[in-house]
């Protein structure tokens, strides 16, 4: 399966200093970190970057993070991190980081999960897997695109739904532990996916699935069972 966009070889090989400018709480476990990154070459929604922290003794930890912001916000980059229990990098972000701190980033990486805004998109995410999908939703909005875009997102509860206040009519949330009155509790199921495939645009959806591996397996199987062609399902697994 081909990539969606060409990727600049040069840009991806350079480490740039990113200065933290703002921290925004999203949920009890997730926060958005806004950075100024001079020289950032820009990204396409869906792409990720490599982030590196360096300790005084020279030890480095690097992790991949999807880019949450829309490309139009070109002088700034936003990442949204889940606080992983015992996590080395997310732990530093959630307990030590404050505006003014500097980290290093490299990218954007990968042209595969990217969505330039050129095809109708069906987005399925869970937990922090909604991050690259939100970049797509924001891109769709800031550009005023009219092509169809739908987001199906799974969270444990409304309180844990990342970007809750920002999600709109394009989004159908699914809650696995607790839900508002009158909304069912349960896993994402065929009943959520089938209607979206039934209303697919003429040339079909380009599907993007993102989250933990178990979610990615589950959601991609639901799509296949509902008739989505396998070569039009793109998967980003957070490991």
């Amino acid at each position: 399966m081909p990539g969606r966009i060409g990727v600049g070889r040069q840009a991806a090989s350079v480490w740039r200093t990113a200065t933290l400018t703002e921290i925004r709480r999203e949920t009890p476990r997730a926060a958005t970190f806004r950075f100024a990154v001079p020289g950032w070459p820009g990204h396409v929604p869906g792409q990720h970057l490599l982030l590196r922290l360096t300790a005084e003794d020279g030890y480095v930890a690097q992790r991949h993070y999807s880019i949450a912001s829309a490309p139009d916000d070109s002088r700034y980059l936003e990442l949204t991190l889940d606080h992983v229990a015992g996590g080395e990098v997310s732990g530093w972000f959630h307990s030590v980081a404050r505006p003014g701190d500097r980290v290093e980033v490299r990218g954007p990486l990968s042209g595969f999960f990217a969505w330039p805004g050129d095809r109708p998109a069906l987005l399925l995410g869970a937990g922090s897997g909604v991050v690259p999908l939100m970049s797509m939703v924001r891109h769709h909005r800031t550009r005023g695109l009219s092509l169809p875009l739908r987001l199906l997102v799974s969270a444990r509860s409304p309180e844990e739904l990342i970007y809750r206040g920002e999600l709109g009519a394009e989004t159908l949330p699914v809650f696995t532990r607790s839900a508002p009155e009158g909304v069912a509790v349960g896993r994402m199921a065929a009943a959520h996916v089938a209607p979206l495939l039934a209303e697919a645009p003429e040339d079909g959806w380009e599907a993007y699935v993102c989250g933990s591996n178990s979610f990615a397996e589950h959601a991609s199987r639901l799509l296949v069972a509902a008739g989505q062609p396998v070569d039009r399902i793109r998967i980003e697994r957070f490991g």
Binding site: T54, A55, F112, R237
Partner: protein, 201 residues
């Protein structure tokens, strides 16, 4: 060096087998693949080698299993940062297949491809000399489908995106031809000891 304020990292144990920038994933075995996991039964699995070879061939499950068994025991390294030690894969050494098809003198590279359409390019030198295997067992049991079962390629001395899951074949070439990730910005060779992660490294 660009020190991150207040970052100490987790207490480390010196592991001589850990390439730079990697961490020990312990018992975890993360799944990384950009595709839908296929339902591929052993009876439907085949493995083919063609291109610049004297005798192109296809093996089915039974024919491949009739070849002399070989195992790999050691470490694997994923470009996303984890390494895993003491893994055991069982199958057949790729040299056994190569000896049967006999690559031409002009052959330098191969494209390994899966039953799903995924590809990775490899220098022939990385696939021969007892450094690559077609495997169907992990820890003495069939490889789970999400990890590439019923059969996958393993090239453990390179980053694991080269170890094509659901392996379908090798096309032997006299030039290098980028595969799926290599065309998406990843390094052409992917040697973990030299941190060849992305093109430009």
């Amino acid at each position: 060096m660009n020190i991150t304020r207040g970052f100490t990292g987790r207490p480390r144990v010196d592991h001589p087998g850990l390439p730079p920038g990697q961490y020990d994933a312990g018992d975890e075995w993360p799944v990384l693949s950009a595709e839908v996991t296929p339902d591929l039964a052993p009876a439907d699995w085949t493995f083919r080698i063609d291109g610049l070879v004297a005798d192109p061939r296809t093996w089915d499950w039974e024919q491949a299993h009739a070849l002399p068994a070989s195992a790999y025991e050691g470490a694997i390294h994923c470009v996303t940062g984890w390494s895993k030690f003491g893994v055991r894969f069982g199958g057949v050494c790729l040299d056994t297949f190569m000896d049967l098809v006999r690559p031409d003198g002009s052959a330098t590279h191969a494209v390994a491809y899966s039953h799903t359409g995924y590809t990775a390019n490899l220098p022939l030198a990385d696939l021969t000399g007892g450094r690559a295997w077609i495997v169907w067992e992990y820890d003495g049991r069939p490889i789970p489908s999400e990890h590439g079962g019923p059969a996958r390629l393993i090239v453990p001395h390179l980053y694991f995106w080269k170890s094509v899951k659901w392996i379908a074949g090798l096309r032997i070439l006299d030039h290098d031809e980028p595969g799926f990730w290599e065309g998406n910005g990843y390094h052409a060779r992917g040697n973990p000891w030299e941190e060849q992660r992305y093109s430009g490294d």
